[in-house]
Symmetry: C2
Subunit: 254 residues, 2 copies
DNA sequence: TAAATAGTGTCTATAAGACATTATCTC
DNA sequence: GAGATAATGTCTTATAGACACTATTTA
C-alpha cells in the first residue's frame, strides 16, 4: 500500500498544546517529491530575443540543452528548513551564470508538476523568468555544475529542442512576458541604464514580434515622462545620423 | 553535513545510455520538502465576495481557520510518480467541498515556499484559486479530513485570521482575480448559467470593490454580444419592477 | 399613478493607429 | 548637399467615464 502525506499526518497523537505537539512531532514516512527551480533567462541581443540554456552533462538528456536551475536546498529538521524558493532561484541564477547579485530582474512564473516530467523521480519545478540587460549578457559564464552555456535565439529555436518539459516552460514564460510588457515596467529590464526611445521601441518590437509605429510609440513614451516614470538623461546616443536623446527609468516610489 | 539534491545526483555513476542509466538510478538520500496544494475558493453571495475556509482539527493551528487543501500524492517509484499538481488541486477541491467535478473554475496562482511557513516540516505549497457559481455555493459540504467549512466574507475578514501563510495567499489571489476580471472571462464563472446585465455588473463591482456606472457597463456588455461572447437567452428575470433580459456566456471557440 | 429598475443616448476626455511632415545630425 | 534617422503633428477611430433621459413593469 502506498502511503500519502495526509494519512501519515493523522497517525500523530493529538491533544496537548501546540508547542508540545511540535516538540514530539515526527513527519510521516511517505514519498516526497524533489522540488527544483528552473530559470527562463532572457535577454535581447542584435534585436533578437535570446534564451539562456545550459548543456546537460549527465543523464537523463545527456548532451541536450536545458534550462538552468537546480534543486531546492531543504534543511534536515523542522527548525532548520533550508532556503526559500525565491532564494533558491536567485542562488542558482548567480551560481550558474556568474551574473552579479541584484543585477537581474527575477519573477516567479509558476509550478510545473506533472508526473513523469523527470524520468528519474518525481520532481515539482517552480519556474522563474529572469530579464538580463544586454550590457550584462556577454558576462555570462558557466558556473556550478554547468560546463556549457549559450544564448539561443528564441525565434529560431527547434519546437522540441529542450530537455524535460522545458519547452513548455519557455512557452509559458514568453506568453507571460509578452503579456506583461504592456502592463508593467519590465521592458526597462531589457535596456541599458540609459537608453533612447528607439532602443526601448526595439525591445517592445522584439518581444511582441510585431513592428510598432515610431510616432505612436513616442507618444506613449512621452506620457511616461509626464507620469515621472522616465526622465531625460544627460548626453545623446551617437548613431550614423542624427543623435538621439537619452533617457533613464525612474524606479516608481511604490 | 547537510546533503542537498545536487550533490546526491553527482554520486550516480555516469556513462552508458539513458535507458541503462535510468534502470540503475537510485535517488540520493537528501531531505525533500512535502508539496501541498492550497485552494482559494471564492464565490459571491448577497453581493459580497466570500472565501471558503475550513477549520483545522489538528495541530498546528488547531481550531483556526485555514484554506482547504492537502498534500500532493507522490508515487513510490520513478515509474509510478503519482498524481499531477493540477489533479491534486482538483481532487482536494472536490473531496473537501463535495462540489461536482468540472463545475468549478480552477487556475494555478503560484508556489509559496518560504522556510518555516509550516512549523512541522518543510512544505512548499502550490496555490490555486477557484471560482464557484453562487448557485453551487450552498451545496458545499465538508468532506475528507474536513469537519467544518464556512463561507467567510472577504471584506470583513480579520487581517491575520488564517493559519500558516494563508492570509498572504488569499491577498495574492484577490490581486490576481481583480486583475484578471477586466482582461478575461472569469466574471462569467461567478454568475449562474443565465444572468442579467445587472448581475454581471454586480460581480464586477464586488470583485473590484467600486461602483460601476450601469450605462457604461452596458456598453461594454453589448460589445461582447457583437463579439459573440454573449448571447441572449430566452426568458426574463423577474424583479420587484421591470423584468430584465437574460443572457448566456458562449464559450469562445479557442 | 407612483415607485423602481431596465434600458438608451449624449458629451467629453483619452488613447491607439495610420501616416505625413519637419528637424537635425553625419558624411 | 545628400542621406538618414530623430522628432513632431494630424486625422480617424475606439473606448471609458460622467450623467441625463426614456421605457416598462409591479404594486
Amino acid at each position: 500500500m502506498i502511503r500519502y502525506a495526509g494519512m501519515a499526518e493523522r497517525r500523530v497523537t493529538p491533544g496537548g498544546d501546540e508547542a508540545a505537539f511540535l516538540e514530539t512531532y515526527r513527519p510521516g514516512d511517505f514519498p516526497r517529491p524533489s522540488v527544483a527551480v528552473d530559470l527562463v533567462v532572457l535577454t535581447i541581443e542584435d534585436c533578437d530575443l535570446r534564451l539562456l540554456t545550459v548543456q546537460r552533462n549527465e543523464h537523463p538528456f545527456k548532451g541536450k540543452w536545458a534550462l538552468p536551475g537546480g534543486f531546492l536546498r531543504v534543511g534536515p529538521s523542522r527548525t532548520a528548513q533550508g532556503e526559500g524558493i525565491d532564494d533558491a532561484a536567485k542562488r542558482e541564477l548567480h551560481e550558474e551564470t556568474g551574473l552579479p547579485e541584484g543585477s537581474v530582474f527575477l519573477e516567479q512564473l509558476g509550478a510545473f508538476g506533472a508526473p513523469n516530467r523527470d524520468p528519474r523521480m518525481r520532481v515539482v519545478s517552480v519556474a522563474y523568468f529572469a530579464l538580463v540587460r544586454p550590457t550584462l549578457a556577454p558576462l555570462v559564464r558557466p558556473g556550478g555544475d554547468v560546463r556549457k552555456v549559450r544564448w539561443q535565439s528564441v525565434s529560431d529555436r527547434e519546437p522540441a529542442g529542450l530537455a524535460f518539459d522545458h519547452d513548455t516552460i519557455v512557452s509559458s514564460a514568453l506568453r507571460r512576458v509578452r503579456d506583461e510588457i504592456d502592463r508593467s515596467h519590465i521592458a526597462f529590464e531589457l535596456v541599458p541604464d540609459t537608453f533612447t526611445i528607439q532602443q526601448l521601441r526595439a525591445v517592445h518590437e522584439v518581444v511582441k514580434g510585431t513592428p510598432i509605429d515610431p510616432g505612436n510609440f513616442r507618444k506613449r513614451f512621452l506620457r511616461m515622462i509626464d507620469d515621472e516614470i522616465l526622465e531625460q538623461a544627460r548626453g545623446k546616443r551617437l548613431t550614423a545620423s542624427k543623435p538621439a536623446q537619452v533617457y533613464r527609468f525612474r524606479a516608481p516610489p511604490t
